[in-house]
């Protein structure tokens, strides 16, 4: 897919939780096609010299009809804080769409699809879930976080499928981590998609592999260019180091060395 350098307008910046901003972006001209799992590299014109590189942010939701792109930004450092604080009306420069995309469906005939998100890692699953729903699937979301304040956009997820929730402190949904959720006891799945902290994704990968369920995960290794030039964001795969910005960010777990 052709990559574009875009100047988009923030039509809305909604604070959803502590340090979590939903940026709704639009453009006067039609946005290029984007697929679930892809990401954008956002330029940050911050006053701080500490912020030099662009920040990769996954596509949270994209609607071609309304020409709207949503990004979830979790302010964890100076760069993401500057992004999360951008007021409505600001222009954001981004390179998009970047990376591969989730495979839909993961295997032919797969209908019972589980989408597991941890913390801000739930971001790309909304676009994935919406697209799967559009294609006639009924995705099940399983979303976990430390506490309820980190679980955002639940109403949006509910539009596209059943939502199971865990929090480590028990403040919302079932107490514990995603793999302890009761819905995993009640239902079998044909395919699993996961995005979140690496520890969580590795646990989900093991869960899926133990049950011979195909599984794709979305990685977030630190990167510089985002377009396959700098070779910094590599993941060690069964066929050597691969840039997650080009051959990822989504990987079938069978290609990773996590379970070896």
């Amino acid at each position: 897919m052709k990559k574009h350098i875009l100047d988009l307008i923030i039509s809305d910046n909604i604070r959803l939780g502590p340090g979590i901003a939903l940026l709704k972006l639009s453009s006067q001209s039609p946005l290029p096609e984007m697929l679930p799992g892809q990401f954008a590299q956002l330029r940050i014109d911050s006053a701080s010299p500490q912020v030099f590189l662009r920040r990769p942010i996954s596509i949270h939701y994209f609607n071609k009809d309304t020409n709207e792109l949503w990004l979830l930004v979790h302010a964890v450092g100076a760069g993401t804080r500057a992004l999360a604080d951008l007021p409505s009306g600001s222009i954001v420069n981004m390179i998009a769409p970047l990376g591969n995309h989730f495979t839909m469906p993961l295997v032919p005939g797969a209908t019972r699809l589980l989408l597991v998100g941890g913390g801000i890692g739930l971001a790309p699953l909304l676009f994935l879930g919406a697209t799967l729903r559009d294609k006639g699937f009924e995705p099940t979301f399983l979303l976990g976080a430390r506490q309820k304040e980190h679980l955002v956009q639940l109403g949006e997820f509910e539009k596209y499928g059943k939502v199971g929730i865990t929090t480590e402190d028990g403040s919302l949904g079932e107490k514990g981590v995603v793999l302890q959720h009761s819905l995993l006891n009640d239902k079998a799945f044909d395919a699993v998609y996961a995005c979140g902290p690496k520890g969580m994704m590795m646990a989900v990968a093991k869960y899926a592999a133990d049950r011979y369920i195909p599984c794709e995960v979305s990685l977030e290794n630190v990167m510089a260019c985002g377009i396959g030039a700098c070779l910094c964001c590599v993941e060690d795969t069964i066929v050597g180091y691969k840039c997650i910005c080009m051959e990822g960010p989504t990987f079938n777990i069978a290609k990773l060395k996590w379970l070896h």
Binding site: I5, F52, A224, A229, V234
Partner: protein, 304 residues
Amino acid sequence: MAALNVYIGGELHICSPITTASGTFGYGVEYADFFDINLLGAIFVKGTTAEPREGNPYPRMAETASGMLNAVGLQNKGVQYFANDIYPLIKDLQTAVIVNVSGSTVASYVACAERIAELANIPAIELNISCPNVKRGGMAFGISAQGAAEVVAAVRKVYPKTLIVKLSPNVTDITEIARAAEAEGADSLSLINTLLGMAVDVRQRRPVLSTVTGGLSGPCIKPVALRMVWQTYRAVKIPLIGIGGIACWQDAVEFMLAGAAAVQVGTCNFIDPAVTVKITEGVSNYCDEQGFSSVAELTGALET
């Protein structure tokens, strides 16, 4: 409008002094979505070695104030792969495609250069004696005049086209290395490669990079690079290609005034993939405004 063509050594004349630095621009095609890469004077493609190299483990990158550290470690699929799989994709570009050649021994530099010499549409190589991220070879050849002389002399024997030698800044006196490379037949010099640096993750109390140290690039190194270009310009007669944190046309003009015949834009391609177009326009406008009929007149025009 001022003429933009410049001479960068050997038999190599390029259409513009604005080129892209090895390791920051892939094989050029990665950037073709953003602008017409044929507008570049040259593309210095990714460091290539005789044998495939896996590179260093992740993490390989750390952001710094106005720059970044990298420890990629010359990941590439080897010169044979380049010749068979990459060369056909880029051989018909209208810009000069120059291959950055690296190695761990003199023999491996020679083997790689010999193979590249057979590729008709590669007019030059850039001999990388300055990569700080490999255990053997690389920068080891670039930090002593004797080491530089040895590898340049050996490659010169087998490489008849334009031979550019890329210098390391991690030395006490870069002009010594520059003179040694010139004496052994280098057609031109490119400088600087990255500065050896380090970053620490205070929460983990560990180095950020898997290799502990890495190469610093970006605008933070520009003053150092500019100083070294200026020193080297006064020490050698062959053309220089300035590299180091160039982010805008003013930076490019600074390097040319200090003695560079051309410049390479590196890390800033990551921030703005089309930055070289803007730099080219800016340099051209500057020449027009200042009454230069050719951009080549800028080289060494610094008044001190």
